[in-house]
Each structure stands twice: as structure tokens, then as C-alpha cells.
């Protein structure tokens, strides 16, 4: 398969994820849509790595995976803290940044 097919699929997944982040109200699903966008970026990185024929893009993809794991960790911690404090699990209701 030619490389641009992979890039187009990556762009499509990224757009779906961006639309999901804008549309959904549950922070859990917003995090899932962020995962979609990161994975689309990973697919593009690996396609570029294949294009150049060296492994630099794959290292970049692995580092992106690490950063995504950190983001999931912190995001789920915030959601659990929201649940503990009886806050509504809804990103539209949470407008203030004060503790």
C-alpha cells in the first residue's frame, strides 16, 4: 500500500477524535477521544518512519505512548477526585478552576 493511504486514515481518525472531544460531555469519553487523536498521530509517525526507512519515527511513537499513559493516569486521577468530592461528572458543569 502506498504511504498516503495511511496518512489519510490517520487524518480521518484524528478528525473523528477532535469531533468527539467537542461533542461529548462525559470526561471519561473526552479522555478516550484524546487517545484516538494521539493514536492517529502515532499512525502518521510510523508511516513517516516507514517512508524514511529508519527507526526514528518509531522511537517518537513509543515516546508518544508514554506521554499518553501519563495523561491517562492524571486524567483518571482527576475524575476519581471529582467523584470523591461529589462533583458532577460533566465537563459542562465544571467551569471553575478553584479547589
Amino acid at each position: 500500500m502506498a504511504i498516503e493511504w495511511y496518512l489519510v486514515v490517520s487524518a480521518l481518525i484524528f478528525s473523528i477524535g477532535a469531533g468527539g472531544v467537542l461533542t461529548r460531555r462525559n470526561p471519561l469519553v473526552v479522555l478516550l477521544c484524546l487517545e484516538l487523536m494521539l493514536n492517529a498521530a502515532n499512525l502518521a509517525l510510523i508511516a513517516f518512519s516507514r517512508m524514511h526507512g529508519n527507526g526514528d519515527g518509531q522511537i517518537f511513537a513509543v515516546i508518544v505512548m508514554v506521554v499518553a499513559a501519563c495523561e491517562v493516569c492524571i486524567g483518571l486521577g482527576v475524575i476519581v477526585a471529582m467523584y470523591r468530592r461529589r462533583l458532577p461528572i460533566d465537563v459542562d458543569e465544571l467551569r471553575e478552576l478553584q479547589g
Binding site: 481518525i13 477524535g17 461533542t23 487517545e35 510510523i46 527507526g55 522511537i59 483518571l76 477526585a81
Partner: protein, 234 residues
């Protein structure tokens, strides 16, 4: 063969992505994302990135999604209306935004002068070896060599970032407001000097508290432990 597989797997990945976005229940959303991640790992395999595909399946579809499952089960994945509050125009607007973003990305990708567009990528040889002396493309050997030589600093920074994220998650999700009932336990120097139970007859009969009765009575409420110490003194 590769083309057929590509289209099947790409359709599966897109279906998983759309399912993640559009299913009302977060639980099924996570399951759709797992399906999407597995399809994406197959796409990585088609691009000859074997190590990243394995890491995708094990780390992402395995560990991270299990973490999501736990939190969805803990918070109670309540079914929620999909769109923003009330207004249909907001939802329509975001869909239009996503479509515009895709068109823009497609123009940006296909309009660039990248030399490899329209080809299958750089020649990496039949067995994955581009030049003599290089380790094979996409294998753990190559990834490990690059991580420990050329990309040593990003590797160390990533590990440090993971440590900070773990500490931050524990700090965020920790229970606030001190200890709760039944968790309080005082440690006095007397506990170390005197054994909890000396094995006398009085302990067996029950007039003098031994370790188990003291644990049952003394730790639940202070009044009960006061009572037992009085009997102990007598």
C-alpha cells in the same frame, strides 16, 4: 493481499473510532476503543513496525484500557446525552468542524512535496535490512539500540515523566480529610515494652483481655477499651 488486509483493517479502525465517539455508554465506548487499538496494531504490522505493534497491544489495549475499565466501573458509567446541553447547533457545528479539519489535513498531506507519496516507502530490503551493518527495521533490536544511543535523553525524560505522573495520580486520587472510622490506630511505647497477651489463665477465661478481645473492643471505640482496662486492673 496487503491491499485487502489494509482496507479491512482500516475500516475496522474507523468503525472503532466512530463507535468510541458515538456510543452513549462509556463502558461500550472503552470496548470500541479496544477494537480500534487492535486494528491500529495490525496497521502498524503492515508498516513493518513490529515492536510498536506489540507495545500497542500489550500496553495500550491491555494495561491502559484495563485502567479505564476500572475507573468506569468505579465512577459508574451512567448513560449521558451525547451532545452538548440542549442545543443541536453546537453538535452540528462540531461535526462540521471535524469535517473541515479532515479536509484541511488531507490537503496538507496530499499537497506536500513529500517524495515518498505514491510509493511504498524507502527500500528496506526483503528481510528488513537496508544496508549491511544495520539492524533489521522495526525489530526490538533496532528500537533498543536507538533508545540507548541516539535517543538516550528522551528515554530518560520519558521515564522521569512516568514517575511524576504516578506520584501526581496518587496525590490527586488520595482520600482527603485524614483517617476515617476504624482506621485510627495508636501506637504507644507500652506496646513494645509489654507483650499484648502473656498467655495466662485469665485471658483464656476472658476476664483479662488478650490480643483478640483487645483488638475487637479496643480499636472500635475508646469507651469499650476503657471498660476492659478497668476489669484488667481488678
Amino acid at each position: 493481499m496487503a491491499e485487502v488486509l489494509f482496507f479491512l483493517v482500516a475500516a475496522g479502525a474507523l468503525a472503532g473510532a466512530i463507535g468510541t465517539v458515538s456510543v452513549p455508554n462509556p463502558f461500550y465506548s472503552v470496548l470500541a476503543l479496544v477494537c480500534h487499538l487492535l486494528c491500529l496494531a495490525l496497521l502498524f504490522l503492515l508498516l513493518r513496525a513490529e515492536f510498536v505493534a506489540a507495545a500497542q497491544v500489550v500496553v495500550y489495549a491491555g494495561a491502559v484500557m484495563v485502567l479505564y475499565m476500572f475507573v468506569v466501573a468505579y465512577v459508574g458509567g451512567s448513560e449521558m446525552p451525547v451532545g452538548p446541553q440542549g442545543s443541536r447547533s453546537m453538535r452540528l457545528g462540531s461535526i462540521v468542524f471535524a469535517a473541515v479539519l479532515f479536509v484541511e489535513l488531507a490537503i496538507a498531506i496530499l499537497g506536500t512535496g513529500l517524495k515518498a507519496l505514491g510509493t511504498e516507502g524507502a527500500g528496506i530490503g526483503a528481510d528488513g535490512v537496508a544496508r549491511a551493518g544495520d539492524s533489521p527495521y522495526g525489530t526490538p533490536e533496532q528500537i533498543g539500540e536507538l533508545l540507548l544511543t541516539k535517543f538516550l535523553l528522551p528515554f530518560e525524560i520519558a521515564s522521569f515523566l512516568l514517575l511524576i505522573a504516578a506520584v501526581g495520580a496518587v496525590t490527586l486520587a488520595r482520600r482527603r480529610g485524614g483517617l476515617h472510622d476504624g482506621e485510627e490506630q495508636r501506637i504507644t511505647p507500652l506496646d513494645f515494652v509489654r507483650p499484648r497477651s502473656t498467655g495466662t489463665m485469665a485471658e483464656a477465661v476472658g476476664t483479662r483481655p488478650n490480643a483478640t478481645t483487645r483488638e475487637r473492643a479496643g480499636l472500635t471505640s475508646g469507651a469499650a477499651s476503657g471498660g476492659t482496662t478497668e476489669t484488667e486492673d481488678r
